[in-house]
Symmetry: C2
Subunit: 376 residues, 2 copies
């Protein structure tokens, strides 16, 4: 796996690059649609390919481990064969999911015990077995097992947790290096910077993570409820330390504005459930602002859902029709808006890339930011 | 609108023909997917066109009248413009829906008063205003307003109701003839034979309906709970009376076996919610029998959902993956199985047509019937 840094903006830290994987290339900056349980909710695989133009999607180790289970995924020949998505995939380590189980889990040095949200059954995730599970799932990029601290989080806890995440990382790397991919193609392990909203911890963590010289690096523990200013400040500090020649992945971020601001700070990869979750509630993003498609004002607006969209679905269906589908609680409503929002996010990161390469990213970004949060 | 009868089987009453409409031709026998509220549940319009190969879909007057309402549909320029499906459409008259409201409606000679299932508001459907509503919806084929009798239904009620349906038909035809299509293309009115499961009533009704010399004729009040033998017997009697040179539509039927048997009796057009409703519960049809995709036996079956399918979706996704989607209650599961079942129904009527034209329909039909109800 190889990352080519192709352009860096002269007025900010935005970068454009290409990450080459066994399942194809990823042109950064990039948004990665979330396919939690081996499916991006409501979206067909060919729609991800053709209409949304997704270059990489996510899976969740916690969910896939519970259902369908690693035995089924191994028999299938890995996640790509299982769900038929033959482009790059990334799996998170389960760290975030396990820690969001709150009262259903216990964290010790060995690992995290948790009870399944499906049937209450008890499980143990350790840095070692999470590597093994991700080998069996077979994503191109796999994540280190970390503790994702909540917000707010007191300094003492954040510091202790960060150190444990660093110790877990060493165990992850040892196991990763001692095992081979199961399906004949390379997997890359990305470590995760933690440290809550504390500058000194983030700095320390970024240095520790960078020292491992992994193929790419990730920033975790943000977009968990902290003010956006904190998110940007932490991202900025970490980006100033992580190596420039490696891709940087900001986990779980965010709104379209968050994404543009963090691209400006030097982030290359993003994932977030926001576009699909909001889509299912009828909130759609456009380059002119946000639309709540359930509002009565759209009931006789027969213009396309987004006349400016570059994808077919958003130009085909009208606002009035999609509003009607939501009013009638019809499945097709969320299907359409999910495609729309994902296509919009992919358009947004694709445009960012173009402007970085053209050298006018900052101006474009500032113009976009002023419009994206408007309510139409 | 014009119907060309192209072939009739020498050993049974199966027929093949083509119905020409302003939105394209319909090759019969044909199955018409049900798009109740301007959407076939969980299915994109381009999927209906390209993968399912639907030639005509249904809409429901009752539902469309309540939501989005005729004002919106009229502003849109009719249902085709509203939902973007540019092939032929048919709307039922609301008769079936109104009568299935049971305690929420009252039937008088004037028409049927009912309260909306959405907000309880009171409405009156008459033969006249149902014609007006269907003019505003703008389907290519519209249905007469009838009373659909329940099963069982005593002879006296069935007879009285049938006569009222005949009187309503005259009022429908008068209003239909006194009004023009709103969107510049022809609409055809199909009358409906009633008479419950009584041979003499069905005969009488078929003669009354045939006497109006409409472009096509329909059979209602079957597939409402009566034994299949009764359905076939009534269909046979009615088909022996309805004119041969006009298309015959058996409303609300049915299972794949029902459809093949009724094609053999002389039916040309079918609609039913069964393929999509069953799909949403994980029941799929194949030419070798039925599959409950939720069964554990499919959990590691990585063969295509239906390796014999002529459509892409059914060959792309595996049984194990679709089973996983249903286990995980993921939207994509019902999306895939809905496409699959509709494509199967369209394949089935398409094959029937081929075999009628080839002269070996009866042999093929009997072979298929012996397999279709098996549980795989």
């Amino acid at each position: 796996m190889k990352f080519d840094l192709e352009a860096t903006d002269s007025k900010c830290n935005a970068r454009a690059g290409t990450l080459h994987t066994a399942h194809g290339k990823i042109e950064t900056p990039i948004f990665m649609p979330v396919g939690t349980i081996a499916t991006v909710k409501g979206v067909h695989q060919h729609e991800l390919h053709n209409d949304i133009k997704a270059q990489i999607i996510l899976g969740n180790t916690y969910h896939l481990y519970l259902r369908p289970g690693t035995d089924i995924l191994e028999k299938a020949g890995g996640l790509h064969k299982f769900n038929g998505f033959n482009k790059p995939m990334l799996t998170d380590s389960g760290g975030y999911q396990v820690f969001s189980l709150s009262h259903r889990r216990k964290i010790k040095e060995e690992g995290a015990t948790f009870s399944s949200h499906i049937d209450g059954s008890k499980h143990l995730f350790t840095p070692e077995n999470v590597m093994d599970v991700q080998r069996k799932i077979g994503a191109d990029i796999i994540m280190a097992f970390d503790e994702c601290t909540p917000y707010p989080c007191d300094y003492k806890y954040a510091k202790r947790s960060m150190h444990m995440t660093h110790r877990w990382l060493k165990r992850c790397i040892n196991r990763f290096n001692a095992t081979d991919p199961l399906y004949g193609y390379e997997q890359a392990l990305f470590p995760i910077v933690q440290g809550s909203v504390y500058k000194d911890l983030r700095k320390q963590s970024a240095e520790a993570i960078a020292s491992h010289d992994c193929i790419g690096n990730a920033i975790g523990g943000l977009s968990v409820g902290e003010p956006h200013e904190d998110m940007y400040e932490m991202t900025d500090i970490v980006c100033s330390i992580l190596p420039k020649e490696k891709p940087r992945y900001l986990m779980g971020v965010g709104t379209p504005v968050n994404i543009l601001e963090c691209i400006a700070l030097g982030i290359d990869m993003f994932d977030c459930v926001l576009p699909t979750r909001n889509a299912r509630h009828g909130l759609i993003y456009t380059r002119e602002g946000k639309i709540n498609i359930k509002n009565a004002k759209w009931k006789d607006d027969f213009s396309p859902l987004d006349p400016d969209a570059t994808n077919e679905t958003s130009r085909f269906y009208t606002k009035a029709y999609v509003r009607h589908l939501f009013q009638s609680k019809e499945l097709l409503g969320p299907q359409i808006t999910s495609i729309h929002n994902l296509a919009f996010y992919l358009w947004l990161t694709g445009e960012a890339r173009k402007h970085i390469k053209a050298g006018d990213f900052l101006k474009w970004k500032n113009e976009m930011v002023s419009k994206l949060d408007r309510r139409l």
